[in-house]
């Protein structure tokens, strides 16, 4: 996959970082404002896909991105399940259950550090969705390997 024209490269170089930061903001403020892990992860993946489409990638880069995005997606899923199981384990016998919110009264309502385990779940889902979108794009857009045989 080769890169695009210099116009596209200059615009993408300017914009991609802002899109990435905006996606991280949507993930981290998911419990305060509209958005959340799913939307923020998709925005982060959109920023990465924009830079990859504009500048082009080599075959080795595509392979390493495929491997690393698989690792990120699996770790995001495991982190989400870890938050769920902590609600089952950390409380006294009989008081906890699967996906119980950890310390929801910690922190003042409306600030960044509040809402217990909801921000942790948002971060886990954001990692997972971003890596999933990126890996689907890498596999679908590099079809030259499929027709190589």
């Amino acid at each position: 996959m080769s890169g695009m024209t210099p116009i596209v490269k200059v615009i993408a170089r300017t914009v991609a970082g802002f899109i990435f930061v905006y996606g991280c903001y949507i993930i981290l403020y998911g419990h305060l404002s509209p958005g959340g892990g799913f939307a923020g992860g998709a925005i982060v993946a959109a920023g990465l896909i924009l830079s990859r489409l504009a500048f082009g990638t080599s075959a080795a880069q595509e392979r390493s991105t495929s491997i690393s995005s698989s690792i990120f997606e699996s770790s995001g899923g495991i982190l989400f399940l870890l938050v769920a199981v902590l609600g089952l384990v950390i409380f006294a016998q009989g008081a906890g259950f699967f996906f119980k919110n950890l310390f929801p009264e910690f922190g003042k309502g409306g600030t960044l550090v509040s809402a217990g385990s909801i921000p942790l779940s948002n971060i886990a889902i954001g990692i997972k969705v971003g890596a999933a979108m990126l890996s689907i794009f890498v596999v679908l857009a590099s079809t030259k390997y499929i027709f190589k045989e």
């Binding site: 419990h31 509209p34 959340g36 998709a42 989400f80 699967f98 997972k128 999933a132 890996s135 689907i136």
Partner: protein
Amino acid sequence: MPELIILLLFMVAAGIVAVEIKDLLASVIALGAVGFTVAIGFIVLQAPDLAIVQIVIEILAVVFFVAVILKTTHVDSTIGRPYKGADIFTFIIFGVFALAFLYVGVRFLLINSSAGFEIAQHYIKHGLTETGAVNRVAAVILDYRALDTLGEATVLFTAVIGVLAVLRLEGRKK
């Protein structure tokens, strides 16, 4: 809501264009028009969370389709084929099922709506004290209904596994 009806009519028109047009790239653009109209409809219905997700996913879907279609011939070779008996049979079966589903769904919604409204009132009234999250949507999807979110994450995981299994980068070693 007249603006919502205008949006729905535009969605129907764009959907017909997406199905009937011969060039696949134009068909994908019409499909993107349907998706962005859904996003505007979510904003009209005052659901900004869903609108953000719909806009981003629609952009990614159109980019995926364009990146794949640019490597093909762009032409849908099945356009212009006359409808056969099996096609008309399929249309009638799916139409009857859709109308029956709509009728039953609206009936049960009218019967059971009071219980659903009570649960919604509980979320609005006690959501901040019970979960600590100002955004009630986050409180519902990650605290009250977190198992559903786990199921959604599993669906996405399965989709990625399917795509990677069908289109894997390393060819099969025989």
